[in-house]
Amino acid sequence: MRISVMSQMQRSFSIDLPSLIPLQLPSHEVKSTSLLKRYSQLLSPIEKDGVDQMRGDELKKNALLARTLVRTTISRYQTNKEVDPRSLMFKKNVYGKPEVDWQNCNNQPLHFNISHTDSLIACGVTVHVPVGIDVEDKERKIKHDVLAFAKRFYSADEVNVLATILDPEVQRKEFIKLWTLKEAYVKALGKGFSAAPFNTFTIQSMPGTEGAYNLCKTSEVTADPPEETKKCNGGWKFALFDLADSHYAAVCTEDDQANEGAPTKIIVRKTIPFVEDQLISERIFL
């Protein structure tokens, strides 16, 4: 799968600086008004309404960039013909998950999902399998006590993992990683949050791997005494990695039945549509 990332940063930033330096992504970003105008010309009337509904200039710009990233990214991966990003049409599935409306071309294999934070927008594209992506600022502060939050919303096993982490900073970061993984799964599933309440499944890291995770679903077998069974079979693949040193990104894809268990290749590109495009990484996740 491929991920296009649009960072809210100045043009000059990315090319020369080594990736080890933790950078502050300035909130001055894609500033050029002519560029923003060009972006807004890509949007449908409904999307423009969506942008206008956002309260405040920053949020409006963020919404504009998100739609721009989706349209330009998807149109790049059409191999048959040149696709004008403006021409893409979108619809929602019965649960509200956005999808491309391919109109007369049936059985198009491309799937996408998008996630954004204040300073970074990510769009993931896959072939043949549904995808969910969630990004989160590593430094995001949780207003509630992390463990209390987890006990309220996460699964018992996940709470146990978090409870063993003594350093509050490390614990907060693990909490956020789990959040992005769980969000990515629900978004990949595409059936709304009610279909997979956070406390009914556990995502655990696979021992001996870096960034690979497993999904375990908890279901109650009604018996006396009631028992909980855990199924950790495949079906969904996860990957967690850093973006721009500032964000965690979690990706979830449905395991392709034809290639079940095969490794997933993830290609990350950083892009400012019409301006620049840069390969960030190519990784294999088992």
Partner: protein
């Protein structure tokens, strides 16, 4: 003559204002059906139906939303304000719900928590849950 027996009229929060029917219908689990006994005209029906959440509830929800999203104190919020339009993501929404649970001493179902999209919806849900609590 119009006859309206108490048993044939039933309603409860959330609001049944006609302008928001479409919103209620989107969530079948919270849809309440209203049936009336025969009556001739609304003029003869001396019954005031006020189902919107109390203004104080809306205000308290707004305050919590402003705090969670770090909005300036003078940001104008209305009951119709959408969380997403204010920049809230799903993590913010869940944190807002947790703060509302603490403030109003209620417990929100997970599936309801993620589906709240406006201040009005939050206020209605709160009043619904507060009303359902056993009398002290």
């Amino acid at each position: 003559m119009a006859s309206l027996s108490a048993t044939s009229l039933s309603f409860k929060a959330p609001s049944i204002q006609s302008t928001r029917i479409s919103q209620v219908l989107r969530k079948p689990s919270s849809f309440q059906s209203i049936s009336f006994g025969g009556f001739q005209s609304s003029k003869s029906l001396r019954l005031q139906i006020s189902c919107a959440a109390k203004p104080e509830t809306v205000q308290k929800v707004s305050d919590i939303v402003k705090e969670q999203l770090a909005l300036s104190a003078d940001t104008a919020l209305t009951a119709e304000s959408k969380f997403s339009a204010l920049g809230a993501d799903s993590l913010d929404t869940v944190e807002i719900v947790m703060a509302l649970e603490e403030k109003f001493n209620i417990s929100v179902e997970e599936s309801d928590a993620q589906n709240i999209t406006t201040i009005q919806e939050a206020a209605d849900l709160i009043e619904d849950l507060v009303q359902k609590k056993p009398a002290a």
